[in-house]
Symmetry: D3
Subunit: 237 residues, 6 copies
């Protein structure tokens, strides 16, 4: 995989995760899902929501674009099916505003539930008003050309994470995580266990129990050599 010789390829009729699985994963949030995956699949922290409260979860349709050129965003639109998240990677770091309210209107009409783009977007006030959830690495008004082919629905590296078409992409205020199609069931199971445990823990911590005791950390800390000293016993320097 990732060994495509040719650029300018659109892969159609991709396999996707089920809508039910996406809905299930969306309940857990990015932090829990990332933990359930064995702490894998996160995009870098530079990927942020363009308006407060934006969240999204769905199957990835992907596009690889060039800096300053959003031609492939028009091509990928035709591949959107209801419930999809469009994931856009760029061949170089670029802050140009590749996506605006017209494309947001189009993507939403075609059933997309959001966009994750390693580049800039614009018309962010209008996009927030729609609303259409977008996570990007930049906000900038600068327009782009439509001159050079990229590809659609090939595996891409977006903000440091590998995204294959059909993978589930989940995003919230904590970032963006990618769940490979083949691991969805396993991750859901692990996330459910983790979420259940957290509910119990939260109640105990809210009641004032120390996590040192809840997680039984004292023996390991002592073994590692942790020592306690009263401030008044510190030697003067």
């Amino acid at each position: 995989m990732m060994h495509y010789e040719k650029q300018g390829m659109v892969v159609t009729d991709i396999r996707r995760a089920s809508a039910a699985d996406a809905q299930t994963l969306a309940r857990f949030g990015v932090a829990t899902v990332h933990e359930a995956m064995g702490r894998q699949g996160l995009m870098q922290p530079s990927m942020r929501p363009i308006y407060p409260g934006a969240t999204l979860c769905g199957s990835a349709v992907t596009a690889l674009v060039h800096p300053g050129d959003n031609w492939m965003l028009h091509v990928v639109a035709e591949q959107i099916r209801p419930g999809d998240v469009v994931v856009v990677a760029c061949t170089a770091n670029n802050t140009d505003g590749m996506f605006g309210d017209l494309l947001a209107t189009s993507f939403k009409a075609l059933g997309a539930v959001g966009l994750v783009i390693d580049a800039g977007v614009r018309d962010v006030a209008e996009i927030a008003a729609i609303p259409f959830p977008v996570f990007s690495t930049a906000i900038h008004a600068r327009g782009t050309v439509k001159a050079t082919l990229g590809s659609v629905n090939i595996p891409v590296i977006c903000a440091g994470a590998l995204v294959q078409p059909g993978d589930i992409v989940l995003a919230d205020a904590d970032g963006v995580v990618v769940v490979p199609l083949a691991r969805v069931s396993e991750v859901i199971a692990a996330a459910e266990i983790r979420a259940a445990l957290e509910t119990t823990k939260r109640a105990k911590l809210a009641a004032g129990e120390l996590s040192l005791d809840l997680y039984n950390m004292r023996p390991a800390l002592q073994a590692a050599g942790l020592t306690y000293i009263r401030q008044s016993d510190l030697r003067e320097e």
Copy 2:
């Protein structure tokens, strides 16, 4: 222009754009105006509003300051006329809080409609409460001295854009754009045409029409060599 031999110069009685033109441009937003200018005049994406929803549009009065020194902000205040936007460039990258609620109170009282500053500001909660629209490249509490002369109402380069006194400066959530005084009428005309076209396009896209068809992109994509392949037909690797 830009060839001023002397520092410490205040240029007074500058020509300005008309208030009517500024109001007209404000309706279009930064992205549309930037396109109407031939994709020119944008400041860099590091220039951001200090509170959500801030927008501004008016004629530029400019100041060139030194890092850590806001003396010229007091000098430029006297040059403010109702409807002006104060634009501050700095001779070096600097995040110090050069502007706070006292100066915001003063600038507003003198008729300024906002500030664009390639440096830091402070008292941002108080400034948002006034409200006085500010776009800056940093937020920081650090105070500044008043020791070294800069200049007022000379051409400056602010966040990568040339600003001449009297140019119209327009800012919203997508960034900041500068419209040279000599091009205002032309840009308004182009923006009106563009905005009208976008309204029509938006309706068609909202109805599900593909931008590939709306913009008749398929012939050019085909000529460039774009190919389609079903995922199930991809060779295994």
Copy 3:
């Protein structure tokens, strides 16, 4: 101070500022307090609130952690007393999400009034909902291990500022400032004078008086060589 030979030390029973002093300082805000200190004690501008409106003020309990490892956050919890602010420094720049809603629940239950951390946090929507004020240099979902000892309640350098246990830490939208325990009374006195002066100045500026006159800046500007010229008198170039 700062000359601790051993890692893995927890200093207990630290001296703290009084709750009354913290409440008094909180009224002034970071910008005023920083000025009252002689423009000292600020953290760098990369330290930002994780949700709008977050503020905090209290005595510092400190932790020094390693990148990707939040073990000491569990250890520091036991040292929290009502009114404390937990201040976390890291031995390297790190964006991992060291603190989430479980620890926020715990810290709040133990009486902490907020967290300042030179690293990442996660569960930011949940933390904002509690609410528990947090200032951090990153937001990211990535989880951390519990493997390596740091220290608790030693002096630390957090985002460029020295924080000693018991110092008052004050944070708002303008940043974070640290007031050494020994200087609290002096700083409160200076802040009160400054705040009183600002109220008077604000009224005059709101009435349209120029700060040039209010601060009597014209003689110094003239002495420095500031010159005024009408734009129409500038020579053509």
Copy 4:
């Protein structure tokens, strides 16, 4: 691929490219090989040689490490075979000095021809004196712990590029490129054609021929609307 459920896995006896192929690719340099691949496979520009003149080419053995923890560099050493390049990815951005002259001595003794690491290194003067070619994203003296398992010889994303064990990694002053094992022959063939063409072009350009003519660009430029105007005919503004 990339779907490994478990951390703490060492994959042994990986398939590698042939030494002959690596030697052949090394002749072309990173820029030519990247072009021969269809402009794919480059790491980000933050990946730089630690001393002038460093170059490397060989089969990748990979390690995934955690910030501030170089335990897996000791584990990967055992998997080195003569001609290998060790490629180290980290689960978070980290500048700690994970690799120094002792590990360089060890890796060289075991036959490695270089290191590519998305983190920091130290002892750079000593490593340059050996010499052992290293490309890193940081230089820093800070030491690391050995506390948390990562993995060895799994696919990793290093400085934005996917590296699978056995891929050929080529690095010089222009950056680092990864050639997937399955594409080595094809890329060599394409690089040879490209290199031959460049020799011819270079001679013509050195003789003063314009690239506009050599590449026959004038018709396309004219079609795109390029216009020429003498400076003296520009209207005054």
Copy 5:
């Protein structure tokens, strides 16, 4: 100026500074020339030589390009006259390798004395071997397309400095400075005075005279309130 409505314009037959003036300025170095200009005209510190010892000085021919697209570098080549420096600005931050050894060979054959580019370059070892002096904001192997028109010999903002065609551009290890054509004589005169003064000062400082005395700084320092205290007299805290 800077108000060009059309993109895709090549301005020919530009006025240039004299070769003699460029040679004279080259003797002073960037720091002295920048001071002689009244501390104006410097590019930002991100603009660096691609190999140690690179320096250049000549009249600017300019190009404005788009991210990932070096078409205009081929167009600007035809406008080079012996002694010129090519200055390339880009409409967005971009690290792609827009310039390599083939273009370096061509530019040198046409008489250019160097390149200043606010983007990436590649083949840096080969360019250093020619040698052809280049200052850039990035080094990266990534290739670029030739698809979108920019302009040639229009005023550009390059790394924060305004460059008009024909201006003298001077670069050395301290950075890059732009001397407007109209100010060349004045700047040469000021630089000569400054350089002469520095020779005298250097001798006195080398003999151990304090700059406090050489520049007679003590009265101003005392007036500003500078106080001296022996360390042993500092109160204990």
Copy 6:
């Protein structure tokens, strides 16, 4: 300490480390000394030598300056004693060229063995030719004013490290480390032990012994759960 109420203070007659201790520490290098200190005292990796091969070691005389203002560098000169290292911190991030060849000439004449500055320097070619070792966070030609008091020989935070006057500062290609005066003897002792151990280890590693065995890491790795699997036994995905 660090609680100075007044700015504009010069502390004279500071206690210093002995020249013999500085010479001894210089032999070990930054990485070893930092380890010998318990991994403390390092400046951030943004602090780099301005020319290859620069190293320095001596007692710190410190200065705190303001952005764009190098007045205190003239004041600190008078406090230099043979063997001193001047350490300059700035109240804000600043890249201006605060130090050039004239000050380098002066500092060298007064006996300083180098400079560490969290700001910019200029005349780097001339400084390298002297040679005078300098470590800085920026290189830039921009000149500075002499207008605002800072302080001399107070404790400062420079590039993230606390430096007290008289501390030993050691710098080489791996960065800069600060050894508090009170810990010099202890650190020398620890460094000697560490250096001796490294010599033995280096010989064994050069002979091909695995660090896994040399450091007896296998039991801990096994306990942590490290597993080995042949690539050919990996399940297909």
